[in-house]
Symmetry: C2
Subunit: 136 residues, 2 copies
């Protein structure tokens, strides 16, 4: 299941990608347009900022803006920041690998082999989709 955090994050990012970049948009504005709780959205945009996706400006006329060109932001990046690992099981995760304590041998593990296929396919989609694609 996709968390609402990620869902809202993607919506906010595509909203920003549709605007003229570098011009700050306030949380309140995005919140109204996308039907997202102000406070919740606030925390989401903050983590996106901390992870180098967004810039911000305080005070009147302030808000958040995209730092990079939308076509240079693949969904792999966004997903990893907001949702965490893309793989369904830690033992097939590229960025968050962790061995299963119950499984003696990964090569013969049915779950392992199946989930590698799922991961590869999902990764392909996220890699080939950028914010620019989504904001069309």
């Amino acid at each position: 299941m996709l968390s609402k955090k990620t869902k809202y994050g993607i919506k906010a990012l595509t909203y920003l990608a549709r605007q003229d970049s570098r011009i700050p948009v306030s949380i309140a504005t995005i919140s109204k347009s996308e039907n997202i709780s102000v406070k919740f959205l606030e925390s989401i945009l903050l983590t996106l900022k901390r992870n180098g996706i967004l810039g911000s400006k305080k005070g009147l006329g302030g808000g958040y803006y995209l730092i990079k060109n939308p076509k240079d932001v693949p969904m792999t990046t966004v997903m990893r920041i907001l949702e965490g690992p893309i793989a369904m099981v830690p033992c097939v995760s590229l960025n968050y690998y962790e061995k299963c304590d119950d499984c003696p041998d990964e090569d013969t593990c049915a779950v392992h082999r199946l989930m590698i296929q799922v991961r590869d396919n999902t990764l392909e989609v996220f890699r080939n989709t950028t914010l620019a694609d989504l904001s069309k």
Copy 2:
């Protein structure tokens, strides 16, 4: 994240697929071989039985066995029974569709379009993989 329920379920099913089918295997046996808690495994196998994947036999020499030929059990079936919807968002689910309350138009929703792609790719993997493939 894949739940342990699903993970253990798949492991147990592939274990059974490797045996001569129709010969019952006890929970205890599978539990030992796959390092799964007996009681937890019990509930998993029970739901697989209730959903027509497994048959069972009580008493001495009893246990669980596959009802169908492993090559006739696609992972879509197993995943839907144990994990639920394959889609990451209800609004792109084929079997459990549900409209988002925050989203006015699915066709222009970035999340919707992205997740349809993910769903299609994941579905393809699960459709083309059977228990027979996993037990090789």
